[in-house]
Symmetry: C2
Subunit: 354 residues, 2 copies
């Protein structure tokens, strides 16, 4: 039977606005005005009130303030995972903008599970946030409905869609995949394989695969092998997927496309460990243009996405919206193909070999 234990440390009763008012011999409203930096208090009293407030360690309660003023400084942000650099970079891009606007971000990860996101949105709405940011454009019906009904400015980031809940900024993943496919076809690749993460773990990536497929289909080819073993799009996941592909696929693909650059790098390592030369024996393709690519001696062919800029722009859109300004509602950001050292023009090479 658990004994009612006293807390380790007694909680002190924090000073409230009334305490400050009394100590300063002024009304509560004067203190409120000073704390909010609002006009209507003489310089002398202002200084005095500030002094007393500091002395008493007074911090205005945001909870009470939000309730009374019916405004909020909270921004809810939902991302799938922290284990992908992409989302960390997007967050990084947003951070500064929100800070400057005096907004407080509440970040939650959903691990790509729609029902987690749904529950989170529910909890979030209860806090009356000034805005909400979701990753991707796939959400439960309930989530969309709740957000729409709440009237809370909502922004979907990373994917692009023509029909956002409210606003969106992102890249067109299908097109990105398609463009890369065209590029590879042009280079002469015809037997692609794909290595990614488990099917429900990244819907965007599957859009890209679809785009890739389309490009190859146009020359009568298709993705000959797939491996989706990994839970996270990591270096080690890419390595494992590559092992899977190389062990179980015959003939060996002429190019392996990876969910992202980290996986691609893991794949490159594995190929070279096996004595497969990249790009002579096999091509490697990533996605995102992550920092890692800047220092590799063999730079990965990849699609470069503007993550930090996207985060910053997203934050700016939302802030503008919160303050009632008209803003762009949908922004499609460009993806640029980086032609690295892990693919080559197979036509040319064949010529020079003969």
């Amino acid at each position: 039977m658990p004994v009612e234990a006293p807390p380790n440390r007694p909680a002190k009763i924090p000073a409230k606005i009334e305490d400050v008012a009394r100590a300063a011999g002024v009304s509560i409203m004067s203190v409120s005005r000073v704390m909010r930096g609002v006009e209507g208090v003489s310089p002398a009293k202002r200084t005095e009130i500030r002094r007393i407030a500091r002395k008493l360690g007074y911090t205005p309660s945001s909870v009470a303030g939000s309730l009374a003023a019916a405004n909020s400084t909270l921004i809810g942000i939902s991302i799938p995972t922290l284990f992908e650099a992409v989302f960390a970079e997007i967050l990084d891009g947003m951070r500064g903008i929100f800070n400057k606007a005096g907004l407080q971000a509440i970040v939650e990860t959903t691990d790509y599970v729609e029902s987690f996101e749904e529950k989170w949105v529910q909890r979030m709405i209860a806090w009356h946030p000034a805005g909400v940011i979701l990753s991707g454009v796939f959400h439960s019906k309930t989530t969309e409905e709740r957000l729409r009904n709440s009237g809370i400015p909502t922004l979907e980031i990373w994917d692009y869609t023509d029909t956002p809940i409210d606003m969106c900024i992102g890249v067109d993943h299908f097109s990105a995949g398609y463009e890369m496919g065209l590029h590879l076809v042009r280079l002469g690749y015809r037997h692609p394989a794909y290595v990614g993460v488990k099917l429900n773990k990244d819907p965007r990536a599957e859009d890209r695969v679809a785009g890739l497929s389309k490009a190859f289909a146009e020359v009568g080819s298709r993705i000959h092998a797939n491996s989706r073993l990994a839970d996270t799009a990591s270096f080690e996941g890419g390595m494992k997927g590559t092992i899977d592909i190389l062990n179980n696929t015959a003939p060996t693909p002429d190019v392996i496309c990876f969910l992202n650059d980290h996986m691609a790098f893991g794949g490159t390592m594995e190929c070279e460990r096996r004595g497969l030369s990249v790009p002579d024996d096999i091509g490697i393709v990533g996605f995102n243009g992550l920092n890692i690519n800047e220092v590799l001696s063999k730079r990965i062919t990849t699609s470069v996405t503007p993550r930090t800029l996207m985060g910053a722009t997203a934050a700016r859109m939302l802030v503008a919206r919160i303050y009632g300004a008209r803003t762009e509602e949908k922004i499609r950001m460009p993806v640029e193909i980086f032609d690295g050292d892990t693919t080559k023009d197979r036509m040319k090479t064949r010529d020079s070999n003969t």
Copy 2:
């Protein structure tokens, strides 16, 4: 001149408890009881109230609820950066526990800047969180004071200290460095170099370096070269640091210790690119035992830290404390040396060579 633009989407007025009560023909308190899952409402009314609430899309306001009940479900968490897997893993460990306890995490990154942390703590306290988690044990005086005065349960994670603000759980970084130093000395290394990040970017890492130094000092040696160019403890940072060391240090060190495994891996790549064989020509040492190490063909010698467990334990400590239970106040977690393939026993090798 900016025109006062109307918002893109008109905000709807959300239903409040009163609306539900009126629609259901009951008192406000009955609705409140149902929404909170508290006893005192007959099954029939309970069902009816729930139906009406759903129909009206009613979500109880956490802001009003917190104010009235003087309780909170918010946990503030401050970490230095999302760009290090360690903190993502710690967060991951905490997430589940907090969710189960019905607590909402608010995560902020400080980028290792004390004044950011200070401001964040200030903002956080204003929300009356149920608890606060800080990374590390280095905080501004004001931060410590504010937290202590607030009476909010506070937990410091990742570093261990005997004198926490309130509670702490972490590893002893100095000892971890020292133990690794002893290990390297035992293996016969005498000319270590260190590659990390900029000095103010990771105080823990510097503690480890101090421990390392001590171990080498005991055999009359010292860290012969340092490189702290990088901003983030990334693969590419490790590579750059290694280039720096190898270009500018003579004689070449016999072992390079890195801030973490990612950097160490970057370093290994660079060494091998230069034709330096690891571990025959040079040893490589990391820190943390990150996932990457599980798939490398040459596994990095490193100190394995229990990040996920630490996160989970931390969350449990804080939850226990919030609910008034007595808990451990300070937990020192073990660090285990993993003797990988990037170091070797230099004594033995010398014997076999002669």
